[in-house]
């Protein structure tokens, strides 16, 4: 027997949703959704859970992650309840629920908190620069070490426990029995979805969106790989240098498209932008651009005289790695892939 929690609606509005209470359960959204199936029917059911505040059911559900926000439902909803944005808000809310530190929720709910976090990280970088007396070589070396350390730490201290929590909400708590072999066979799905987001192809809207996203993922992973493992900024190899240029160009061009979409608000999914959405695309863009500029300045031999450029790049990088990746929208990429993994192992 479940009881109603009307407070949940208010809570959810802090994550971006509004007016989903207007839903009168006609089911149009579910009918037009090209990803909804008989077995996994959404988004109406999720709206209903949200209206009633059935938090445990939402936590145990993968449906928010099965939605890729084409926005068809929002376009067709006769009550203008914006089911698409509700699904997006649920993803944000779930992210905050998975996150054991609670920082994720704090940053989603409060813009001030986000600004403070960004400022603090920036000040830390500047402080470090002051301490080293603006020694470019030292700073660059630390930057490289920082990247490797942070990747490992963020993953083991934050993301891995969060994934375990997600697993708990979805598999363990509801008492679903999953044979061990499924965990192994399911890995294939994990990899495929993580790198291709192939499910988006099921959406009826333009496939361009999927393609842009795919390119961006490869660009992003490429940049990560070249800077961290191939040490792009210190590399002498032409191949590595060119590769770095290519991936960083990819990143900032694709993000420019994304930003302009959000400004033009043509697609349903880009009509409503939360600070977290802006932050994600803008920082990605700045990362691509600043990395590109840093390497260019190195090649032109003028970085030494323009140390501010590297500092800017460093600030962006630190903010990205310490704020956006562990607590921001970046995690959607991870949780979404794992959602597909859990979905596969549950069903097999």
């Amino acid at each position: 027997m479940a009881s109603i929690n009307t407070g949940f609606s208010k809570e959810l509005t802090k994550f971006g949703a509004f007016d989903f209470n207007a839903c009168y359960n006609c089911g149009t959204c579910t009918a037009v959704c090209s990803l909804s199936t008989g077995e996994d029917s959404f988004p109406r059911e999720m709206i209903r859970y949200s209206v009633l505040g059935l938090e445990d059911d939402i936590k145990a559900s993968l449906k928010p992650w099965l939605c890729y926000y084409c926005g068809e439902c929002t376009t067709h909803c006769p009550q203008e309840a914006d089911p698409g944005e509700l699904m997006m808000s649920l993803r944000r809310w779930l992210t905050s629920v998975y996150d054991w530190t609670g920082l994720s929720g704090l940053l989603y709910r409060s813009l001030t908190a986000s600004i403070i976090a960004m400022t603090l990280t920036a000040l830390a970088v500047i402080a470090y620069a002051v301490v080293t007396n603006f020694d470019l070589e030292k700073i660059m070396h630390t930057g490289h070490i920082f990247e490797m350390v942070v990747i490992g730490t963020v993953f083991t201290v934050i993301l891995l426990p969060n994934l375990l929590r997600m697993w708990n909400f979805i598999i363990l708590k509801p008492g679903i029995k999953v044979p061990f072999k499924n965990y192994v066979t399911g890995l294939r799905d994990l990899v495929v979805h993580m790198f291709t987001q192939k499910r988006t192809l099921g959406c009826d809207d333009s496939q361009v969106r999927w393609f842009e996203h795919l390119i961006l993922v490869f660009g992003y992973l490429g940049l990560l790989f070249t800077t961290v493992f191939l040490n792009w900024f210190s590399s002498e190899s032409t191949f590595v240098i060119v590769l770095g240029y290519v991936v960083s160009i990819i990143i900032f061009t694709v993000t420019v498209i994304f930003v302009s979409e959000r400004i033009r608000k043509r697609r349903e999914m880009s009509k409503k932008s939360q600070p977290s959405d802006w932050m994600f695309v803008v920082w990605l863009f700045m990362m691509g651009l600043s990395a590109f500029a840093v390497r260019l300045f190195i090649d032109l031999g003028i970085l030494q005289n323009n140390i501010w450029l590297y500092l800017a790049h460093m600030i962006i990088l630190v903010q990205w790695a310490l704020v956006i990746v562990p607590f921001g929208k970046w995690t959607h990429f991870l949780y979404r892939s794992f959602a597909m993994y859990f979905d596969a192992i549950k069903k097999n």
Partner: protein
Amino acid sequence: MNKKLGVYICHCGGNISDYIDVEKVKAAVAGEDGVYLAKTTMFACSDATQKEMVEDIRSNNLDGIVVASCSPKLHLLTFRAVSERALLNKYNYVHANIREQGSWAHSDDKAGATEKAVSLVKAAIAKVRLARSLDPIIIPSKKAVAIIGAGVAGMRAAIELADMGCPVTLVEREYFVGGRVAQWDVMFTTNQTGKELVTRLYNEVIARDNITLLTGAEVVANSGSIGDFTLKIKVTPRYMKEKCDQNNLLKAIEACPVVVPDDFNFNITSRKAIYHNFPGEFPQYPVIDIKNCTRCGECEKICSSVDFSQQEQTVEVHVGSVVMATGFDPYTPAEGEFGYKLSDFVVTLPQFKRLTDINKDNLVYNGREIRNIAYIYCVGSRQSEGDNKYCSRYCCTSAIHASLEARNKFRNVNNFHFTRGIRTYGKQELLYAESLRKGDVYLQAYEENPPLVEVKDGQITVTINDIMTGGREISVIPDLLVLVTGMVPRADNSIASKFKLPKGRDSFFNEIHMKLRPVETVIDGVTISGACQGPKNITESVNSALSAAAKSYSFVNKGELALEPIIAGIDKDLCTWCGECEKACPFDAIKKEKQGEKEIAVINNSVCKGCGMCLPVCPVNAINLIAFSDREIESMIDALVSV
């Protein structure tokens, strides 16, 4: 003399001619005795054909016509009018129904249908041969209307009739006008209060000289019929002089020792035997409720306006027509129905409306601050088992409106609606949308699985298998449970038997035809309006009141009425008064009368509807129905069997 007859056989655009060979029918009847012309037509009712008929009748001096087409229910009046335009007495036109009784009934047997059509037309021809010209019965009609009930419907009808120049007697049983609406505070969909509306209507009523308002008044007897009703009305006094001193009055009320539940507030509060309902009710002076008063005289000692010498009076009014506007009662749940009476915190919607009106800043009831409110819909309506199968129409909107009102007026109110599917039709849907947006929670169940109410240690739990959440069991523990009760006919509806008013399946007063004659009843001259006819909101009640006013006006405005002459007639010589016909007549049109030495049956021409029920019961065959005499009927039977 042999009559010259015209026969028209209609195709009905294929409705008839697809199954009946109309040409064959024409050929079969063309040679009948007296038939001067026989024609087929695509649409007999079309303007062109009507003109052609008029032309035919005039230029050929026809003495009678037969139209074979659809049911006379549809077009009898059309072709009567055609005859009149051609200066042919309309009773010389006879109708044959070859669509409902021919083509549609026998679509599987074209030859048979055609044969039957031939017989029906021949029978009609036989009847028209014997038809006589008839004149309508003209009776005087008193230009005055009585309206029973001074709710919104009654008052609105009174104003309308008065403005058309018709004197009105407005009879209200209670001491205050306004009916139910006086009891509501803010109302959908206008957001005006009941008080405002009733005040406006009342001021309009008293501003008109030709409206006589009687309060505390009840019709105790009715005699007569359309054009001439005589009503005996008992008027109970207020036992108060008009214009009394407010100060003393309040003291007098305080002094009265008798405390009774206040039905104005649906018994959630109490009042004294001397009381008023200021400021919302009119006329604005108090009453002594004599049924509960013990005549102890306490009030009389304080207030000089108390006047126990006033006497009950009976007045007699004569009117040409009567408008019924007696309204409805809210449904009262049975004990235990959704927890009713099992907890102090289970109330009905009307009680809840009074509650939100009476409370000012906080919603407090029986000492408890009310925050979480559950509403169970369709209580006493849409019952799968029980009498009230109908939807009460107003209650979804009213409950939503009241819950929004509670949300807006008081702090921290949460509303939980347990519905059977919301029916806020038309613009009322906007209220539903607003309620959803504000965060009210709606749950829904099917009729066979209604919400369950449990009361334990003063705690109410409402549980539902919510079909919007895949049948999940969901429960709410509200501070207050509101039963959204529907409308039922007035508990004391004895007025109906005084007028012999028929009731429908749902026990409300019944109209003749929902769409074609929506405010008339089978009792000529008596119209119905407002919620006494079935659940209605104010707009709908007023619309029907205006319609009833117009209809009643049409009965009285000329000072006389033309009635259908097709009625029963009694052969004085044959009648021996056995009383059988009186028993058979459903309209009370037959009375015994002494004529010389003999007692015979006499028919009241303005009441008889020509239904013919009295004919077969007469042992001496003394009754004949005009236009359906034995000769006419026998000639038709002959024609039918001769084929």
